[in-house]
Amino acid sequence: MGTQSSSLKRYALTRLALVVPMVFILLTLVFLLMRVAPGNPVSAALGGHAPPAVIKAISHQLGYDKPVYVQYGHYLGQIVRGNFGTTISDRRSVGSIILVNGAATLELTFFAMIIAIIVGMLVGLVSGRFRDSPLDTGGRLFGIVVYATPVFFLGLLAQLVFGTWLNWLPTSDQASPITQALMKTHTNIFFLDAIIDGNWSAFWDIVKHLILPATTLGIVYGGVFIRLIRVNVIRTLKEDYIEAARARGINERSVVYHHAFRNALVPVITVVGLQLALLLGGAILTETTFNWPGLGHELYVYLQNRDYAAVQGIVVVFALVVVAASIVIDFANAFIDPRVRY
C-alpha cells in the first residue's frame, strides 16, 4: 500500500509540475497571436470616425504603442497576480466575464456532455451488441453523420425545425427576456439559480431554452462516444470472462448489460476529458448560433473588436480548464489503473 501510495503521489507531483511550463507556453502563444493579428482595439473602435491623431493618442494612452516585450512583461505580471485585466471595448473585468459567462458555458457544456454520453451509450451499445445488423449500420451511420456535421449547421436546422416550423422551443438565449429580467442571480448558473429560489416557472423556461443548444452540441459530440463504445462492446464481448459467463449459463442480456457493457465504459472516462476541449471549441459556435451568453459567445464578440485583454483572458481560461480536466482524468486513470503510474 505504501509503495502504491508514494508512486501515485510522485506521479501526481510530476503531472502538476508540468502544468507550469505548459501554462507559460500557452500564455505566451496567446499573447503573441493577438499581437500578430492585424489591427488593434482602438482602430477597430474608432477607425472610420476619428482622425489618425486621436487614434494615435488613445493608443498611447492604453499603452499599445509600447514595445511588445514591455506589453508582454506587463501582461505576465498581471496574470501572476491573478489579474486578467479589464476589457478595452466595454471596460468589464475579465474576471467577471469568466464568472458570469463562464457559468453559462458550464451550464451548456454540462448538459451537452450528459446528452453526448446518453446518446453515445445508447447507440454505441446497441450497435456493438447487434454488430453488422441493420441496427449497427444505422447506428454507425448516425455516429459518422452527426460527428461530421458542423455544429452551427445542426443548430440552424434545429432552430428552423423546432423553432420556426413547429414553434415548440425557443431558439435563442438562456431564458426569455422577462424571466431573465426578474430572476435573481446567485451562482450565475440559471438552472441552479431557479432551483435555489424555488422559481419553477423560471426553471421550466430555462429548461426549454437549454434543450436546443445542449442537444445540438451534445449530439455532435455523441458521435465520438458512439464509435468508442461500439468498438469497446465488440471487443469486450470477445473476452474470456464473457465466454466463461456464457458457459456458466448466464442469460445473454445479463452478460451484455452487466458484464460487457460496464467494462466497455471504462475508456470513456478518458475520452470524456479529451472531449472537453472539443466541447468548449464547439461551444463557441453553438453559443453564437443560439445567442447563448457563454464564454464562447463573448470570445466571438471580443475577437471582432480585437479586444486583447478579453480574448487573452478567455482563451487562457479555456486552456486552463482543458489542462485541469486532463490532469483530473490522468489522476483518475492512475488511481483506477496502476499500470499508468509506472
Binding site: A37, P38, G39, N40, S43, A44, A45, L46, G47, G48, H49, A50, P51, P52, I55, I58, Q61, S89, D90, R91, R92, S96, I97, V100, Q159, G163, T164, P170, T171, S172, S176, P177, I178, Q180, A181, L182, A194, I195, W200, S201, A202, F203, W204, D205, V207, R262, L265, V266, T288, T289, F290, N291, P293, H297, Y300, V301, Q304, N305, R306, I336
Partner: protein, 527 residues
Amino acid sequence: MHVRPRLRHLAVLGLAGLALAVVGVTAAQSKPLHSTASTIIDGTTDTVTNVDPAGNYDYGSATVDLLVYQHLLDYPEGHRSPTPSLATGCTANAAQTAWTCTLKKGVKFSNGDPFTSADVKWSFDRVNAIKDPSGIYGLISNLKDVTTNGDYSVTFNLKTPQSTWPFILTTGAATIVDHKVYPADKIVANTDTKNLVGTGPYVLSKFTPGQQAVFTPNPNYDGSLGSVKNGGVIINYYSKSSTMKLALQQGTIDMAFRDFTPTEYAALGKTSGITVFKGSGVVIRYLVLNVKRPPTNNLAVRKAIAYLFPRQDIASRIYHGNVQPLYSMVPAGLPGHVNAFGELYGLAPSTAKAKAVLKAAHVKTPVKLTVWWTPSHYGDASADEYTEIQRALNASKLFKVTLKSAEWATYSKTLGTQYGAFQLGWFPDYVDAEDYLVPFYASGSNFTSNGYKSAKMDALLHQEQGAKSTAQRLSIVQQAQMIAAKDAPIIPYWQGAMLAVGRSDIHGIQGTLDPTYLMRFWEITKS
C-alpha cells in the same frame, strides 16, 4: 473491481439529477411565468461599451443613455432641431464664442437629487477630465470652460466661434449627470446601476453586459421628452441578426431596432403579424478616392467614376429600396442639402460623359482601379454592393476594377494611408450638415487620410462655424457641397432609412422614425 461501485455512484448521482429535473419540470408546468404585459421587449445587434455617458461613443450605448439621461437641449418626438429639455433656452453672444443656457427649476434625478447648474458644469468637466479612450471628449474639444451663474444658469465659453453649439449640446458628450454621484475622473461601471442615475424617462434597473438592459419608468421624470406610455423596456442583445429575426418571429421580442440584413428586412416585410417601419435616416455610405495616389489623384478619373456610379441599382437591387440614392455628403432632408453630384454629373450613370472627361484629360482606358471594401463592419450587403460597383464601372469599358477586402480591424487602421479607393460609412455625431462636411473636407480634421486639402473649402467651413445666422450658414453649407462634388474626393452614394420592425401589437414606432435617428421607446405602447 474498483470501477463498478464508482460507476454505480455516478449513475445514482446522474439519475438523481434527472429526477430532480423531472420533478422541477413537472412542478413548473403548474405555474405560469410572471408577465409584465406593458413592458416593451426590444432586440438589437448593437453593443454597449459604457452606459456612463463620459465613456461611450457608439450607438448601442447612446440608445441606453437616451432612456436614462437628458441634455440641456434634446429632440422630443416631432422636433428636428435642438429643443429645450433641461434648459429653458440657450443664447449666444455676438461673437458666437459664449453660449448661455438658463435651466429648468424643480427637475430631479431619479435618486431624488435636485438638478442645478453644478450638475451641468460637473458633467462637462468630467468628460474632459476623463478623456475616455472612446474619444467622446473630442465632441467638446471647442469648449474652453463652463461657468455657473447661480443655480439655474450656465455659460459655455468656447475657444472659437461655433454657431452649431446647440447641436453639440444634444450629443453624448453633453449628457447631464448628477454631480453628487458621478466621480470627477472615472467612469461608473455598467453593472453599478444604483449609481447610473439621470433625469430621463427610465431608470436602468438591471444591466447584464452583452445580454440585457432592463429599464423601469423613472418616478421623478418631468415628462419634458414626452410622457412614458409603457410599463418599462427590456433591450435584449444579439450577436447575430439571424437569431434576432427568429426571436422576433417567435414573439420572444416585441420589436427589433438595428439591425437586419436587407434580405432579412425583405423577408420580415412579408411575414404576417410583423411590420417593417421605415423613416428618414441619416446614415450614409460613400466611396473615398485618394487624391494623392494614382489613378484617383487625377481629377478626370474621379469625375469619370462619379459619372458612372450605379446609385439606383445599389438602392433597388441590393437594398430592396431600404436606402435611397444620395447625391451629396449632406443627406436629403437635412437643412442645407443640395443634390450637388446630381447637378454636376446627372442623376443616372452616363458612360458617354465619363468617356468624354477621360478623353479630354488624355487618360488611357481602361483605367486600372483597385477598390477596397470591408466585409466586417457595414453589413453583409457590402459584398453585393461592391460587386455591383465593379460591374457598373467595368461595363463602361473605361475601368478595369479589382475588388479587395480587408477585415475591419485592419481596414480601419489603413484607409487612405494605403488604399486608393475605399468604402466607408458615416453616422453623424449630431444631425446637422456641418457634421457631414467638416470631418471629411476640413484639412485639419479629415479622418479618411485621402489627402484632400482645399484652401477654398477650409475657408468656407471656417465661415460656416462662425456664421451669424442660419440662412448665412446654410448658404455656406450649399457652396461647400458644390465644391465637394466638383473636386470629388469622396463619392456619396446612398442614404439609409431608419428601420425598425415590430409585431402587430406594438404601436408608436413610426412616430419616432425621423432624421434625428432616435428610438424614443417611451412613446411605444403594447396592446
